[in-house]
Subunit: 145 residues, 2 copies
DNA sequence: CATATTTAAGATAAAATAGTATTAAATCTT
DNA sequence: AAGATTTAATACTATTTTATCTTAAATATG
């Protein structure tokens, strides 16, 4: 059950690293994150671009530059990240991949699937980076291998 | 939120076609199904091979050959199909794709995700081909474009 | 034997992922 | 202020994975 793409997983893990390991508003170099989490530097850079354009991160070039959260971690939700990196239609896709699946022309598992997506959406919308960061520090959870 | 691979979606739609359109135990040619549902014939063939080897379908070569359900549609569950076509570890994957994620070394979203997977598993395990087939016929649902 | 059909292996195409090289911006040193 | 250094941004290329197509073989019917 692979739900998220590599790019999204990388972005998420990287944000969690920033929020759980670094003081707020400090620029963290992408190189450091990519080495720490064993993620392709350039791929991560691309992913971060999307997050920067969306206003979730801000970036700064030059020595001691890097990326930092653009908002308080309490105000960035899992849903924001996922919708940015997977596309805004993330929660609207048919389980059977049928294009126009909806109330008007549902697929055989539409009813069942729509409920599931809604539940997941609620959970994604109420889980913030701060929530996850706290949990990581409290329980010493891992972000990488 | 793309959860299933193309192969799995094709297999599922094809099985639903058989169960909802055809009398039980009649061999249906793969060519017919692929044309009816607009699916690549050879790709569907490969998918069906896996389902045949797993004992969900049986096949017959030669004129008037094809595939047919090997069991009663009441005894084939969504979970059987998905586990065959996506792999037995379908419900055991970490949302963040971390290899050894589990109770011993959980990722930051482990607790939350494990509950979701369990719910989905229950639903997949109690939904049979017969259930879905009836629904299709009752509500005239669609399987293809 | 001729034909229809699944089975199977291998080649090709497309998409996702990863890597290389270059450019641009900010800072630091002299 | 000039030039070197650090770092993100961008473009381009390569690799890997996934999906599709091509071809050939095996099996059944008549």
């Amino acid at each position: 059950m692979k739900v998220l793409s590599k790019g999204c997983i990388y972005g998420l893990r990287a944000l969690l690293y920033i929020v759980s390991e670094k003081p707020p508003a400090e620029y963290v170099s992408i190189r450091e994150i990519s080495e720490e989490l064993d993620i392709s530097f350039h791929f991560l850079t691309k992913t971060f671009q999307a997050l920067t354009q969306k206003g979730i991160l801000r970036s700064y070039r030059g020595p001691n530059g890097g990326v930092a959260l653009a908002k308080a971690p309490e105000e960035v939700f899992l849903a924001d990240i996922v919708l940015t990196l997977e596309g805004e239609d993330f929660f609207n896709k048919c389980l059977l991949g049928l294009a126009g699946c909806g109330e008007a022309a549902p697929c055989p598992v539409h009813d069942f699937w729509i409920g599931h997506k809604a539940e997941l959406r609620v959970e994604f919308e109420r889980t913030s980076l701060a929530d996850m960061g706290k949990k990581i520090n409290r329980k010493k959870l891992r972000l990488g291998p």
